[in-house]
């Protein structure tokens, strides 16, 4: 997030795209409600009528996968209405002409037609967003999980820069991170091509720095992305895997491919706190310690690094992730030894510039620090891109519509969209252990629009055989107007309905993020 979460409460206009905020990020939704109470206007871009969409002043119920046409139409309207921030564009950005030329070639009616949203509504949203003094964009996986995910995000950035809605407090672009420490994992280089603090592995200067610190030779070739690994196939180049705290046997798309890959490895080692669907396939399972059994830091969506403290000793033979890695590396001939997590943090401060001033003694007893925090005297950064963008000037990258990899057709006439429910978390490794959470949501429900349901003779509670070109699952129907006609929606938390057997593994060529949000499927009612 370029903003801090609390800033959202002060925004005048909040544009939410592809985020079921109330269910997936309730603490962020809380700030949105605060803002609405203060008179802020809410625009929601979502094919589904989510709970947040019911609070929206404008709900743009786009067809799945039409984010770019929508954002382009909004930008064109902003140009036509003379609402672009010329001074900001001049002072802070580059490549504006490419965007402008593309926008002027757009046929607005045609573009609106692709999105399925009336042009007047798009225009109202564009003007509302552009006219605000303080406007934030919050987006989530509904934007990124498409084959054009990177372009979707760039188009959001284009919109924010075109209107100058960055670099100030209460204005910005906020991707909402889905896990407590996914930001921290990226920051620490759990990416194919980067060392901690986003220092590329193929730059000799950075590589030398880490080689000196770790006393070993490091590769300058970027590694593989998640999908390139879990979908590498039975004869893939990868022969062994260590999977920590991840459950690809439920979370990755086109599960049959994942299963074929994992089952044919020479060695699969899984470290998790419960025996997950993935761990069940492993040759060796390491019992990992839970949050309550370890000390360290988590970095949240707003780049805030906070302490997590051990409150109970590890149960049974559990060990923390850090200890597991150290023990493994010692066995494998690299003598990795850290006396404490504080020592690890000191090394992070030394090697990762954005964490330069973060030491345990500074983040203890307070709400932590937000990166970039360059040195011990630095107070951290509540919002990004003040005075200049990290890369210098903000670069406009115009994008044009790209249809989803798999569109509905006669055989598979529905669009399947997948997401999350409030009471379960990701593959449910932890939440499915809780009886009260399971009482609230214990099974996947397939949301079907009433018009489609009437045609198929479906009623809430009926069982449906849902199939795609890749696989099928049996799921209970839930008839609701939350989904548009022609679309169905369900969650992926439950192994009984392993919906990722069906999802498409087409992916964005740049980010390698799979298109979970659009797969063509067929529904058949199962008669009891």
């Amino acid at each position: 997030m370029t903003n801090s979460i609390n800033e959202i409460a002060q925004a005048q206009v909040i544009l939410v795209s592809g985020s079921n905020t109330t269910e997936a990020h309730p603490q962020v939704a809380r700030r949105m409600f605060d803002a609405i109470d203060r008179g802020a206007k809410l625009i929601v871009i979502d094919p589904r009528r989510t709970r947040l969409a019911e609070h929206a002043h404008i709900h743009l119920a786009i067809r799945p996968g039409s984010d770019i046409p929508l954002l382009n139409a909004m930008m064109r309207i902003i140009l036509d209405e003379n609402l672009a921030d010329d001074l900001f564009i001049e002072m802070r950005t580059e490549n504006y002409h490419a965007l402008r030329d593309m926008l002027y070639q757009l046929d607005l009616d045609e573009t609106a037609e692709i999105t399925g949203v009336p042009l007047a509504k798009i225009s109202a949203a564009a003007q509302l967003y552009a006219r605000a003094q303080k406007a934030v964009v919050c987006y989530c996986l509904g934007v990124t999980q498409h084959i054009c995910g990177t372009n979707n995000v760039q188009s959001i950035a284009n919109l924010a820069m075109l209107t100058g809605h960055v670099e100030k407090e209460f204005t910005g672009v906020d991707p909402l991170r889905g896990q407590n420490n996914v930001q921290g994992a990226c920051d620490m280089g759990a990416l194919p091509g980067h060392f901690p603090s986003y220092q590329p592995v193929n730059t000799a200067e950075y590589r030398t720095k880490f080689e000196q610190a770790w006393g070993t030779e490091l590769s300058g070739t970027p590694g593989l992305s998640l999908m390139e690994m879990t979908h590498s196939g039975p004869q893939g180049a990868i022969r062994g895997m260590l999977i920590m705290g991840e459950n690809p046997m439920l979370s990755d798309p086109n599960l049959k491919k994942v299963e074929a890959t994992l089952k044919n490895l020479d060695l699969l080692v899984v470290s998790d706190i419960f025996l997950t669907e993935t761990a069940a396939l492993a040759d060796v399972v390491f019992p990992a310690a839970s949050f309550a059994e370890k000390t360290g830091t988590f970095t949240n969506s707003e780049r805030r690094v906070q302490m997590v403290r051990q409150v109970i000793p590890p149960l049974g033979s559990c060990r923390s992730d850090g200890e597991i890695i150290m023990a493994l590396s010692q066995v494998m001939g690299y003598d990795m030894r850290y006396e404490s997590m504080a020592e690890v943090m000191e090394e992070i401060a030394l090697l990762a510039p954005i964490y330069g001033g973060m030491f345990h003694d500074r983040i203890e007893g307070c709400w932590g620090l937000q990166w970039p925090c360059w040195n011990r005297d630095h107070a951290g950064t509540s919002f990004l891109h003040k005075y200049y963008f990290t890369r210098g000037r903000g670069h406009f990258v115009p994008a044009t519509h790209e249809a989803a990899a798999e569109l509905p057709d006669a055989d598979f006439p529905f669009i399947l969209n997948t997401g999350r429910v409030y009471h379960q978390y990701h593959t449910g490794t932890m939440t499915r252990q809780s009886s009260s959470l399971n009482r609230e949501a214990s099974e996947a429900l397939l949301e079907v629009n009433p018009q489609d349901a009437a045609r198929l003779g479906l009623r809430t509670g009926d069982w449906v055989e849902l199939s795609s070109r890749r696989g099928s699952a049996t799921v209970k129907a839930h008839i609701t107007e939350q989904v548009a006609k022609g679309s169905v929606y369900t969650s992926f938390h439950f192994p009984a309905v392993a919906i990722n057997l069906l999802t498409s593994d087409a992916r964005d060529p740049k980010a390698q993020c799979p298109e979970y949000k659009v797969s063509a499927v067929r529904l058949e009612k199962i008669n009891p």
Partner: protein
């Protein structure tokens, strides 16, 4: 008529230490992370007793724990069902309980003794001594003046303390409080006229320090008279995130669910845990039908229970005005907002 005494603040720790010899002491304590919670005090020196902040939770969990083992059971071919209950009844002195939280305990006394007395609650309650602290300075979300459960009480406490700067005015209420004064007489001095005046003054001033204007009486009357417009239920329920935080923190929410946890094929334990009417699973039936639309009416039961059904049943609302649900709610679906809406304000 309550008796009045003076306890100098200099001697408070000494009195508490004396009480700790006979009772488990529970008081609002600030932990190293800055949160004030009712906690068991092992050492007066090491605990940071905090009487200046509102404790984040009430003393409900000590009398009605979030999870409680009712009994262990065993059954086999040779023995018939065998049940065993291990009582949890440690004599406990609760110190620094605010008027609202004490009123909530009085409400729980009623709830847990309808028809049949709840043995699990009363085994703890009967061993409790409650030393309350009147509120000279209400906290940000307090409105106990509107629910008539504070800031000072006239009955229900064992002892009630009023802060008079360097001293506490001590009032005896129930017999256990009188007994403490009698047993530890040397701590308590007679009241002078200026002390009574100071207490009266504190009493008057506290009433004008409330930051919230909440028209509880008006809402109760309206609820008794006519149904609340559907839009109000819907607009609030849509913001409810179904976290149950309000019910868990509420000092008077006492709904529970019972689960049997098998520990082997022939033995197990029966557990009682907190539940909340805002959860969809609270009312959903086995076939999946839910008589309450959890999307549009999730909070209806909660507010009607507090402000209508309990008024019909017990003659008074079961909201004690502590304001905790105001601070905890993700969606701003708190009782103050509801009361204001019910009274036609926004």
């Amino acid at each position: 008529m309550n008796d009045h005494y003076i306890l100098k603040k200099d001697h408070l720790n000494s009195l508490l230490r004396r009480l700790m010899k006979e009772y488990r002491l529970v008081a609002p304590t600030k932990n190293p992370h800055g949160d004030t919670l009712f906690s068991i005090i092992d050492s007066i020196e090491q605990a940071h007793i905090d009487l200046a902040s509102q404790p984040q939770g009430s003393i409900k969990p000590f009398l009605f724990p979030q999870q409680e083992v009712l009994f262990d059971y065993e059954h086999s071919a040779t023995i018939d069902y065998h049940f065993e209950h291990t009582p949890d009844s440690i004599p406990t002195a609760f110190f620094g309980v605010r008027s609202c939280d004490l009123s909530a305990v009085l409400y729980m006394d009623v709830i847990f003794s309808q028809k049949k007395r709840d043995p699990y609650y009363f085994e703890k309650r009967n061993e409790a001594i409650i030393i309350s602290l009147a509120c000279n300075e209400p906290f940000a979300n307090c409105f106990c003046n509107a629910t008539k459960t504070g800031p000072f009480l006239e009955y229900g406490f064992d002892l009630q303390l009023t802060d008079l700067n360097d001293r506490f005015m001590v009032e005896t209420g129930r017999a256990k409080g009188c007994e403490i004064v009698k047993r530890f007489q040397h701590f308590f001095e007679p009241v002078e006229e200026r002390d009574s005046k100071a207490q009266y003054q504190a009493f008057l001033e506290a009433r004008s320090h409330f930051k919230q204007q909440v028209h509880v009486e008006q809402a109760i009357k309206r609820l008794a008279r006519e149904p609340i417009p559907e839009e109000i239920w819907e607009s609030l329920s849509l913001r409810c995130q179904d976290c149950g935080g309000c019910a868990y923190l509420c000092p008077t929410c006492t709904c529970f669910t019972i689960t049997d946890l098998a520990t082997s094929a022939s033995s197990g334990r029966r557990i009682r845990s907190w539940d909340a009417c805002t959860f969809s699973g609270f009312t959903r039936m086995a076939g999946g039908h839910n008589p309450i639309n959890s999307r549009t009416h999730s909070i209806k039961q909660r507010f009607l229970h507090k402000l209508k059904y309990d008024v019909q049943e017990h003659g008074r609302p079961s909201c004690v005005g502590c304001g905790r649900c105001v601070g905890i709610c993700f969606g701003g679906v708190d009782i103050i907002r509801f009361i204001n809406k019910a009274c036609g304000q926004n």
